[in-house]
Amino acid sequence: MKAKVSVQLKNGVLDPQAKAVLQASHSLGFEEIQEIRMGKFFEIESHGNDAAQFEKSLDDLGKKLLSNPVIENFKVEILES
């Protein structure tokens, strides 16, 4: 089974890195770009076959390790079961 967990900063939390990327994009001539938001994604493979359990585990993993709930949200997407 394969899944993707995406982690992103919560709305309203300042992202200096994304800001730097936006400024660099503008310097490169991509003036029309208004906003860039950066995140992380994890591609996770499991050798189990219970998709519901897998999703539940990833929800737990997302909360405990993959994201910092103080400033980040995460999303679990099952790709292949």
Binding site: V13, L14, P16, Q17, A20, L65, L66, N68, V70, I71
Partner: protein, 225 residues
Amino acid sequence: MKVGVVVFPGSNCDHDVYHVLGHEVGFQPIFLWHKDHDLQNVEAIVLPGGFSYGDYLRCGAIARFSPIMNEVIQFAKKGKPVLGICNGFQILTESGLLPGVLRANESNQFICETLPIRVESNQTPFTRKVALKSVLKIPIAHHDGNYYLADDELKSLEDSGQVIFRYVNENGEVSAESNPNGSSRNIAGICNQQRNVVGLMPHPERLSEKLLGSAEGKIIFESLL
């Protein structure tokens, strides 16, 4: 006094802390390997600076799950003194022993500088001997020292006197210019509600002996006794 210095893979300030505790302050320091479960009857614990687990994923995000953290958390819950310096502070926030999070510096740069830090409270085991509002010049060396906490919780933190250290200018005043990394309210260090766990980004162990220029930082450790 027996003090434990936890060593995680990637910690690199453990020896400086050990040296200051033993040679400069006269305590009995021991190293505590992150995989052990035996705190060996220490009376205080220091989580030193460095790059535990290479800062992978997020600073301190993996170290917080090191086996010994079970015991460190229990130790802290009993009200015993725990100090987190730099990466140690990051580990304390990731583990929930301290509120908030240390984010990347606003400038996206690693900052290495000796700065004036004002001590906002002497009601902690690590600032007990410091005169209130005194300014200590302590080195910082970090890329991720930008302290963040949601506004309502930040207000609670301030109201309960949990802000312990703040970045100030030479005159001891809080200002935007004196803030090296964008930390909310110029916060350089905080404590928990119980006031036994303290975290700070600056490195007092780097300025604890006159031979290296100043012993201003030593009082943080001396306060324990």
